[in-house]
């Protein structure tokens, strides 16, 4: 296990390195940032000053080497437009995004697994068909459109929930979070629901598929024959087997939830990393873009590692030693 983890970490460093290079060059190819943030009435002399001040006059490879040298020492550079360390800027926004992603995942799992299990258990019932129809709707509609509809219905027409922004925060176990106040919860509900919708549909479908397959398997028949109650068979044995694909997908999807928060955060003016990255791309704020990528990739590598470890716990047939890291 330890060897496996160490190997993974070594590979991850390589991944981060390759990634930073790709993003660095990619952002460079999009355009010249100075044209975007320099004031329109600035003349050529001012433009030249800005280019020099931000170190953009150096050749790209030199800029990259400089970046790597500083990155090794933990400095990912300063945002062009905010003049704050890019890392700090992102970490500042991270709790808001994690909070949103976490709530969305909880919603997706808490609703998705029971609904999916029911739909798989009684596939021919009307309710099951309604659930499946709903799940199809869930991923048919584009996120941004659903978000605007949610705002229109629940904030504007009904006035039940606030339309945009993050609510008041409070400290719980040393973490500033808006999930600890009513105001905060009321603010997070709509965006989290918006973000969860797609994942909810996915969880429902996966659970249903797993449920249907497992219910036909021999172990279920044996268990029933042994005299176990249906409830016990479903909630202990079948559930455990269904969890394998769900754990994989949830792990994989956590990264995509964080990325897709870009859209939800834009629609709901949620002050998270997603909104920051969209603004940074629009501004070609390269230090922030690169730092954002490195952080999300690191998060993702950790998630993958956890998924693989969980995998081996849930399904003894998959052993980490087999995977050779």
């Amino acid at each position: 296990m330890t060897v496996f983890i160490i190997r993974r970490v070594m590979q991850s460093i390589l991944v981060l390195f390759v990634m930073s290079l790709l993003v660095f060059v990619g952002v460079y190819a999009i355009g010249n940032p100075v044209e975007i943030f320099v004031a329109a009435d600035a003349d050529q002399a001012e433009r030249a000053r800005v280019i020099a001040a931000l170190g953009l006059d150096k050749p790209l490879w030199e800029q990259y080497l400089l970046f790597i040298r500083n990155a090794v020492m933990g400095d990912l550079g300063k945002s062009f437009v905010f003049n704050q360390p890019a890392l700090g800027l992102i970490l500042q926004r991270m709790p808001a995004t994690l909070e949103l992603a976490f709530t969305a995942m909880v919603i997706a799992l808490a609703l998705g697994i029971p609904l999916g299990m029911y739909a798989g258990f009684r596939p021919q019932s009307r309710i099951a068909k309604a659930i499946m129809a709903g799940s199809i709707l869930g991923f048919s509609l584009p996120t941004f459109w659903v978000g605007l509809m949610l705002i229109m219905v629940f904030a504007v027409e009904l006035g039940w929930l606030p339309s945009t922004g993050r609510g008041a925060t409070a400290e719980v176990f040393g973490i500033e979070t808006s999930l600890a106040t009513w105001d905060g919860l009321s603010h997070v509900l709509l965006p989290a629901l918006n973000l969860a919708l797609f994942k909810l549909s996915l969880v429902i479908r996966l659970t249903r598929a797993g449920m249907r397959e497992n219910m036909l398997m021999d172990y279920v028949k044996f268990a029933r024959a042994k005299g176990l109650t249906m409830r016990r068979v479903v909630f202990v044995h079948v559930l455990k087997n269904i969890m394998i694909p769900i754990v994989t997908v949830v792990g994989l999807e956590l990264g995509s939830v964080i990325a897709f928060a870009v859209v939800t955060e834009t629609v709901f003016a949620w002050p998270g990393m997603g909104k920051l990255i969209i603004d940074s791309i629009n501004n070609l704020d390269r230090p922030v873009i690169v730092a954002y990528m490195l952080i999300t990739v690191t998060m993702f590598i950790v998630i993958n590692l956890v998924v693989d470890v969980l995998y081996s716990v849930l399904d003894p047939r998959v052993r980490l030693a087999d995977m050779k890291g």
Binding site: I30, G31, P33, V34, E35, I36, F37, V38, A39, A40, D41, A42, D43, Q44, E46, R47, R49, V50, A53, L54, K78, V81, F82, N83, Q84, Q92, R93, L148, I151, M152, A155, V156, G159, P162, S163, T164, G165, R166, G167, A168, T169, A170, E171, V172, F173, A180, T181, W182, D183, T266, V267, F268, A269, P271, K275, D279, I281, N282, N283, L284
Partner: protein, 523 residues
């Protein structure tokens, strides 16, 4: 554990209490543009300046029509061709209680070019000053190398900071330590990308603002901003999307206020290259001679565009067809310049005269996330040009790509939609940047590389004329010459629109600033 829960419970209680105490004295504003810093000298960006105008004052303020009015200076005059004298307001106090004097102005002028890593410096407005002389604590003189009539206008963009913070880095302003001004509001909190919180400065020297506490919320998505207003989460929003205006007009809970802005939307034409990359024959091969160099072809394009239809159908009436560089009433705007009437037959005739009776092929480029309805406008212009024989393709790009491709040194496009807002509120600004021949200090945004020696010399003369009346004449003449030559093809002037909840009113501003102290209960 128990402690954590207690804290959570208290947090809930506290949040509830905050909600209840949200009194009539609080104002929440929904801002459409992103603010990048509280440091008033860090980034020369309109949204930043708009926020800074709450906390800081300038020597000279611009009123809602961008005319100069006294700020921290009560009067100013040129005492000779190259010296300006400013009398400073007495008895003004900074938020930390210290008195405002000429030394603060000196410190500010030193700080402006010093700010490290500035992505766009305000020093373009201060570098004409070669020497600053403090005559007494409330009189200050500025020397310039050459006669420099724009000095008062330029200084009306510079926020005065306390001399204690001459060397304070940008971070100290964002954190609040250095965000000490003389303005109508005191700084409370800045959460990047989310909000700025301000509280009333009860010692303000001017009219006291109505609001005790102001929260400026950054809501960059237009629909989200309108929704926040309709839901009552904010009391005023700026940059109202044009599509929502008709509906908001009929809403009894909402008031709208509007003013014609300093922003011109226009087409820049490549009138420089002999072969322009997107000017082709009908089969798509680049033409050996660039027809856009011919004034008649540019005029034909202008005549082919139905500006009234664009204003009515795409801008929902929130724009004014344009024929010049700034709307009438702004300094140097020529009243003679009227929008070119829609005349497709005239356009065809001109094309025939110019030797293109069957037209040619063209690609029109434009941004899709920069100006209100930018990509819809170019999409509407495409068929208009095609109808007079110029087969037009339309390509829209994100501003991030468009901005760098369209300017020096690439100049990738042949015909493109761009906008220009004159921050100084007078016509030398677009003349200098858009139309003057590309060279040191000139033509930095001249994406078509237009060049006309007559315009250049008139502009130069105007920029050296201190006498306002004479200068205005010269600027008017320069813009008339340029527009007669179709240097650019103006489309329309934007109208700035704010929407407030019923019971509030806002004094609309040509400079797009959203200032909480101009939001008042409607009388």
């Amino acid at each position: 554990m128990a402690k954590g829960w207690l804290k959570a419970a208290l947090g809930i209680f506290f949040a509830g209490a905050v909600c209840l105490s949200a009194a009539a004295q609080d104002l929440t504003v929904g801002l459409g543009a992103n603010v990048t810093s509280i440091d008033p000298h860090f980034h020369n960006l309109s949204p930043n300046s708009s926020v800074a105008a709450h906390i800081f004052d300038r020597l000279i303020h611009q009123d809602e029509k961008q005319r100069l009015v006294p700020g921290l200076a009560t009067e100013w005059k040129a005492i000779d061709a190259t010296t300006w004298e400013f009398k400073l307001r007495q008895g003004v106090k900074f938020h930390d209680g210290s008195e405002f004097t000429a030394e603060d102005v000196v410190a500010t002028l030193k700080r402006v070019p010093w700010v490290p890593n500035s992505p766009s410096s305000f020093s373009i407005y201060t570098r004409a000053i070669t020497e600053t002389i403090v005559v007494d604590p409330h009189t200050i003189r500025f020397k310039t190398k050459e006669p420099y009539p724009l000095l008062p206008v330029d200084l009306s963009t510079i926020n005065i900071v306390s001399r204690k913070h001459e060397q304070s880095p940008t971070g100290d302003f964002n954190g609040g330590k250095a965000a000490i001004g003389t303005g109508p509001f005191r700084f409370v909190e800045y959460v990047p990308g989310d909000r700025i919180v301000l509280t009333r400065n009860n010692d303000y020297w001017g009219d006291k603002p109505h609001w005790q506490k102001v929260t400026l919320k950054l809501i960059t998505n237009g629909a989200a901003r309108v929704n926040a207003l309709l839901a009552g989460d904010v009391q005023i929003i700026d940059q109202v999307p044009t599509v929502d205006i008709a509906k908001l007009k009929t809403n009894a809970d909402i008031n709208l206020s509007r003013i014609v802005s300093n922003r011109l939307i226009y087409l820049h034409v490549d009138s420089f290259r002999d072969q322009s990359p997107f000017v082709t024959d009908k089969a798509g091969a680049v033409l050996p001679n660039n027809p856009l160099k011919d004034r008649r072809v540019r005029l034909a394009i202008s005549k082919a565009i139905n500006r009234q239809a664009i204003v009515e159908r795409i801008m929902d009436g929130e724009a004014i067809p344009a024929g010049g560089l700034l709307p009438e009433g702004f300094f140097g705007a020529s009243p003679k310049l009227k929008a070119e009437p829609f005349d497709p037959e005239g356009a065809k005739k001109l094309l025939t005269e110019a030797g293109y009776p069957n037209g040619f092929g063209l690609t029109l480029h434009g941004p899709n996330d920069r100006y209100p309805n930018d990509e819809k406008i170019i999409q509407a212009i495409g068929p208009m040009l095609s109808r007079v024989g110029i087969d037009t393709k339309v390509v829209s790009l994100p501003w991030a790509t468009f901005a760098s491709q369209s300017s020096a040194p690439t100049y990738a496009f042949s015909l493109m939609l761009v906008g220009w807002g004159s921050g100084t509120g007078e016509v030398s600004s677009p003349l200098r940047s858009l139309i003057a021949t590309v060279g040191p200090g000139r033509g930095a945004s001249n994406r078509g590389r237009y060049s006309n020696p007559k315009v250049d010399s008139l502009l130069q003369e105007a920029l050296n004329t201190v006498d306002d009346e004479k200068r205005e004449k010269l600027l008017q003449e320069a813009s008339e010459v340029a527009m007669a030559d179709q240097a650019i093809i103006p489309l329309h002037y934007q109208v700035n629109v704010w929407a407030t909840r019923k019971g509030l009113s806002y004094t609309p501003r040509a400079d797009e600033y959203t200032l909480a102290h101009f939001v008042r209960p409607a009388s």
